[in-house]
């Protein structure tokens, strides 16, 4: 039965990708239907699960023995517990909404059928990732979503930039994947197994050093998939993909897989404090990194991508805090799934109405032209900055509190970082909001002289946005109510109350103050003043942030140029040295035989001389031997 969750979208992908042109007209509805079916099945499981007690909620289903080799057992088996359930609902729910949205968004694309095939493929892989009961199967899902992401980022393949971005995303992810693979090898050599149940339940048997190594490798994997420093560079470029893809894969679901991985492997991290510290540091650094980058980008999607990075930084940080943070990490993940997907869909709606213009400096005053988009985007905006009462407020507030509760100097530093992050979040989101929806109109005719006529998007696009806006408003409150979300996850992730040196009220007030400062600063800069159409040069930091804090330049100079030089010189060396040695030997023999060849001059008399000479030498030798 659990297999159906994965099977439905997989079937869709197979049918749509192999089906050919016959399906061009109805294929997208088939995809929506199957994605919806998956969601319905998920909900049924959820209801069934609610009917049982907390410890009795996890389901297991063994399908077939996958790779049975001596000492190495991998099965295709699914496990559905509260943590997986949360993800299943998020993935299928948001996934289905985005499918519906894409029907409108991709209406004029000749390759729409294939787009939906890829979307279904993504859903299947992502569900596999969260439903797997062992790390190897998780790895399949892990790379599967990477593939889907590759295909979707590069969906408009005739754009070289899209193809390059897709390749970059896959490659950077592969680095992370290698980390996951090594983590699995380590588990295999340490425990003789890599299924969740045995490994996690006996994690404490192993030495701390081993567990730290496993933890760090898992973190590397998480960094790749969740775009955390130092493997974050692909996310900004990934915005080359169609906007629904950015919403689904690069905001709501796939990029949060790292958080899932760390939370799922909680038992390992709990026993490896050093690894946890590194996780927290990565989270904190990315949180600020993403936020700073988000402040400087003029491309609306790239600004949102920076924000995604930063928000996932929050989640990773929370997950690194251990049992006091897991539940909040997941909670923020879910609420983020709602509001960030909503924001991206809003951005897509704006682009849809603006002839695919992405530069916010060419927007302005759009609230009059697209009211629904404005309202839904606005609600998402309020949620992400943590406006009291909305989803983001509850989830982010909890993380900040947990950060303080880490205790000691670390706690203070983390708390301060998360607060600072909250302020910057408020700043860059207000900037996006102000540049897009407020102020004067700044759009101009494009090169062909077509002036954009901003208009509201069709119903199929606005309805998903409205639903997501509802989620952004109410989800947090619902989760917080009666601590329902924490209690729900507690049997899987455990939960401990953190003891914060600051009272809850103090933290909340600090958060609100940070929020007000951020919003105020941005409003002064972008709301009150007219935004220049061409970006001003900006300070050193702004310029660096526009270039992703020079990360790409570093990558380019060190990895790309270095790699190119290395491969070129190796190609040269292979030709000249390795092959040269062989050819050299051949040439030596060739040369030698060339010399010897000259003896064969074709003159019978010279042959006769050599014969006589030879005979004379032989006779002389014989006589000499006699004599001796």
């Amino acid at each position: 039965m659990i297999g159906l969750l994965v099977g439905a979208p997989l079937l869709g992908a197979a049918v749509l990708l192999c089906g050919g042109r016959r399906l061009d007209r109805a294929g997208h509805w088939l995809a929506c239907l199957l994605s919806g079916a998956s969601f319905v099945i998920g909900v049924l499981f959820f209801l069934d699960m609610l009917g049982r007690s907390g410890d009795d909620r996890s389901l297991h289903s063994h399908l077939w023995s996958w790779v049975p080799v001596e000492g190495f057992q991998a099965d295709v088996a699914f496990q559905l517990d509260q943590l997986s359930m949360t993800f299943v609902l998020l993935i299928t729910g948001v996934g289905t909404l985005i499918h519906i949205y894409s029907v409108g968004y991709m209406e004029h694309d000749p390759r729409r059928r294939r787009f939906f095939g890829y979307l279904n493929l993504f859903l299947a892989a992502m569900l596999l990732l969260v439903l797997a009961d062992n790390y190897l199967l998780l790895y399949v899902g892990w790379e599967g979503v990477g593939l889907a992401s590759y295909l979707l980022i590069g969906f408009w393949q005739d754009k070289p930039s899209a193809a390059a971005a897709a390749k970059k995303a896959f490659l950077v992810n592969r680095v992370g994947d290698a980390g996951l693979a090594i983590a699995i090898f380590l588990m295999f050599t340490t425990f003789g197994s890599f299924a969740f149940a045995p490994v996690l339940s006996s994690a404490t048997d192993a030495s701390e050093g081993k567990l730290t190594a496993v933890g760090l490798m898992l973190l590397l994997a998480a960094c790749g998939k969740s775009a955390q420093v130092p493997l974050q560079s692909w996310l900004g470029d990934a915005m080359e993909g169609p906007t629904p893809v950015s919403a689904l894969i690069h905001a709501a679901t796939m990029v949060t897989a790292g958080v899932y991985l760390i939370t799922r492997s909680g038992a390992i991290f709990n026993a490896a404090p050093d690894a946890q510290t590194v996780v927290v540091v990565v989270g904190a650094v990315t949180l600020l990194f993403g936020a700073i980058v988000g402040c400087a980008k003029d491309d609306i999607k790239k600004a949102l991508a920076g924000s995604t990075m930063s928000q996932i930084g929050y989640m990773i940080l929370a997950a690194g805090l251990g049992p006091i943070g897991y539940a909040f990490a997941i909670m923020h993940l879910v609420t983020h799934g709602f509001f960030k997907a909503g924001l991206f869909l809003g951005a897509g709606s704006v682009m849809h109405g603006m002839n695919d213009e992405v530069n916010m400096r060419h927007y302005g005053g759009l609230r009059k032209h697209m009211p629904v988009t404005f309202v839904t985007f606005g609600l998402g905006y309020l949620a992400i900055i943590g406006f009291p009462g909305l989803s983001g407020f509850f989830s982010k507030d909890q993380i900040i509190e947990a950060a303080f509760a880490k205790g000691g100097t670390q706690g203070w530093i983390l708390g301060a970082v998360t607060l600072l992050g909250a302020a910057i979040t408020a700043y860059y989101m207000t900037r996006v909001m102000a540049m897009t929806f407020f102020g004067e109109k700044r759009w101009k005719p494009d090169a062909e002289g077509n002036e954009p006529h901003p208009h509201e998007s069709p119903r199929s696009m606005t309805i998903p946005m409205v639903v997501l806006a509802f989620g952004s408003v109410f989800a947090g409150g619902l989760f917080k109510f009666n601590e329902s979300f924490v209690n729900w996850l507690e049997p899987v992730t455990q939960f401990e109350h953190g003891h914060s040196p600051l009272s809850a009220t103090a933290v909340t007030s600090a958060t609100v103050v940070a929020l007000v400062i951020g919003v105020g600063a941005a409003w002064l800069q972008y709301g009150r003043r007219t935004v220049p159409s061409v970006a001003p040069r900006g300070s050193l930091l702004t310029r660096a942030a526009r270039r992703d804090l020079l990360q790409d330049d570093f990558n380019h100079i060190v990895l790309v140029n270095g790699g190119t030089y290395l491969t070129r010189s190796l190609v040269y060396a292979d030709n000249k040295v390795v092959d040269g040695a062989v050819n050299g030997t051949a040439a030596t023999f060739g040369g030698l035989s060339g010399r010897l060849r000259r003896l064969q001059n074709g003159f019978a008399r010279s042959y006769a001389v050599s014969m006589f000479g030879g005979a004379a030498v032989l006779i002389a030798a014989t006589l000499l031997m006699r004599a001796v």
Binding site: F72, Q157, F188, A197, G266, V578
Partner: protein, 566 residues
């Protein structure tokens, strides 16, 4: 004696080769169908071998044994273990696809011959033969392919070292003609230069392999002498030698064993090919037509790695262990070096060749990691690499035949005009980079896990290879398939035809199916690997903290796991 199934399996393609060669010049199409028919018959027989193999039975099954050159103890001995059975199946499986993909490859030759009157540039190959009515390239092409198949099958089945040696070497003859005689028509450097390079590649292939083979011959004779010394009567029989060694009647002095091992290993390392003996492969694969390139890398080269497993480890376990560190380092160099060079290639076929070198590194690594996972993985790797490379290379061949160029820079935006071609190419590429869900992933992962459990550092270095694999595959895809369509030749490029689809689709289907259900293969391979492991007297490293294999229902994560203890 029961029905000589293995002999017949090898005989059918041999007869097919003769029959195909005998078809009159005018009936070109009949020759093709005849060859295909014979290759399919072989496939059926190979399927019977595979189905008839009993994983729980003896180590060698379907054995045949006849005296051959009695004076020297040479016997005609055949028999397959699980590994051999699987390899024979792979060979028989790929040949129909090779034939299908090369359906029209030799025709152009014939026409060119007709036009030029005689003496078309065929390098050192048979195309230099001349008059049209006498020389029949199509017939020759398919006959040679079938001949190679027959010899490869015998090599996989031979349990007599001398018998193996003969076919191991004899394979070079048809391969030489296939490489030298049939190349891509359009050559970047022009027809004349192309013929020259083809001939160079063929000679290089021959000399390299011949050199390795001669060293092996010396070792084979050495082995015979040693066995004659100790057993009273010299023998080449693998089973006899293994048994004698197990019972203590036959033991080689350390130095002798090492020298003999080196003799065998060198030949196999040339064939495999292992760094730094690899330079013949890019030339051979680059100059040969795509189906022949598949024949080289997916079928013939596998004999090398297979023989390492069967002969090096089986006959010289002590020396194999002695050489392991060096071999592992060479394998790692192959993996990384091959991948890096693949990244730097400008020629599609040479890129695939270097990728293959990297993959052969993985196979050798798995064999010499001396763990069940490593060797099981290596065996599966041979099979899956065969299928995946065939898929990638054959599609690349279709691509090249459309544009008439092997240079990556001559393409771009193909995806736009020929989506099916691009799609199959991508799937082949993804299989090459071992995407989970496709078959090669399983084998690569097993090799890595097996290596890691004994040599963690080697495991980690090899894992870096999977990142590079993604780089060269995706770069290739990006440069050839994506981007705007700028070149007029590309704009007119047709998508895959029915014949081509019929070749590629089953391969892709196999990659997917074996990626999800490799169990039928692992079942057959596992016992054979255990035998090999016991040959070398190695046991898998035990996990430090083995977990009881308890089911999910015993697991209460919240109660057991870490946090509570703190």
């Amino acid at each position: 004696m029961s029905f000589p199934l293995l002999t017949v399996t090898a005989l059918v393609p041999a007869v097919g080769a003769v029959a195909t060669a005998a078809v009159p010049a005018a009936k070109r199409t009949a020759a093709k169908w005849l060859a295909l028919l014979f290759s399919l018959a072989t496939l059926v027989l190979a399927a019977v071998v595979l189905a008839g193999f009993d994983p729980g039975g003896d180590r060698y099954q379907m054995t045949e044994s006849r005296a051959w050159i009695a004076d020297f103890g040479v016997r005609y001995e055949l028999g397959v273990d699980g590994i051999g059975a699987v390899m024979i199946a792979l060979t028989a499986l790929l040949i129909p696809f090779v034939i299908g993909a090369g359906w029209n490859d030799a025709d152009a030759d014939e026409d060119a011959d007709g036009a030029a009157g005689s003496g078309a540039p065929g390098g050192g190959g048979p195309a230099a033969g001349g008059v049209k009515s006498r020389w029949r390239p199509t017939q020759g092409f398919f006959a040679l392919i079938l001949a190679v198949e027959a010899m490869v099958v015998i090599s996989f089945a031979a349990t007599d070292v001398f018998l193996f040696y003969i076919f191991f070497e004899a394979m070079l003859i048809p391969m030489y003609f296939l490489i030298g005689g049939f190349g891509d028509k359009a050559h970047a450097a022009g027809e004349e230069e192309g013929a020259k390079q083809r001939s160079y590649a063929a000679v290089k292939f021959l000399l390299y392999n011949l050199a390795g083979g001669l060293i092996m011959l010396a070792a084979v004779i050495g082995l015979y002498v040693a066995s004659a010394d100790q057993l009273g009567e010299g023998t080449f029989s693998l089973q006899q030698l293994t048994q004698a060694r197990a019972s203590g009647d036959f033991s080689l002095a350390d130095n002798t064993e090492r020298l003999l091992f080196l003799g065998f290993f060198l030949a196999f390392a040339v064939k495999a090919p292992l760094w730094p003996l690899h330079t013949w492969l890019p030339n051979a694969m680059g100059e040969a037509t795509a189906p022949v390139a598949v024949l080289i890398t997916a079928v013939v080269d596998k004999v090398g790695t297979f023989a390492m497993l069967r002969f090096c480890l089986g006959l010289f376990p002590g020396a194999s262990q002695w050489a392991t560190p060096v071999v592992i380092v060479l394998a790692l160099i192959s993996i990384i070096y091959g991948a890096l060079l693949a990244v730097g290639q400008r020629d599609i076929k040479r890129l695939v060749a270097y990728a293959s070198i990297s993959h052969f590194g993985f196979i050798v690594l798995g064999i010499f990691a001396m763990t069940s996972q490593g060797q099981g993985g290596a065996t599966l790797y041979m099979v899956f690499h065969g299928i995946s490379t065939a898929a990638l290379m054959l599609v690349a061949g279709f691509l090249i035949s459309r544009r008439g160029s092997r240079l990556i820079a001559d393409y771009g935006g193909v995806q736009k005009v020929a989506p099916v071609l691009a799609g199959t190419f991508l799937v082949g590429g993804l299989a090459t980079l071992s995407l989970p869900g496709l078959a090669p992933f399983i084998s690569e992962f097993l090799v890595l896990a097996g290596t890691f459990s004994r040599y963690p550092v080697a495991g980690i270095v090899a894992t870096a290879g999977i990142i590079l694999a993604a780089l060269y595959v995706l770069l290739l895809y990006q440069r050839t398939m994506t981007g705007p369509v700028e070149k007029p030749e590309i704009r007119r490029m047709p998508d895959l035809k029915v014949r081509e689809l019929a070749v590629v689709t089953p391969l892709i289907a196999l990659l997917v199916v074996l990626g999800l259900f490799p169990k039928p293969l692992t079942q057959i391979v596992n016992p054979a690997v255990e035998h090999t492991m016991s040959d070398v007297q190695k046991k898998d490293p035990k996990p430090q903290h083995p977990v009881a294999d308890h089911g999910w229902f015993d697991y209460k994560p919240a109660k057991h796991s870490g946090g509570d203890h703190e």
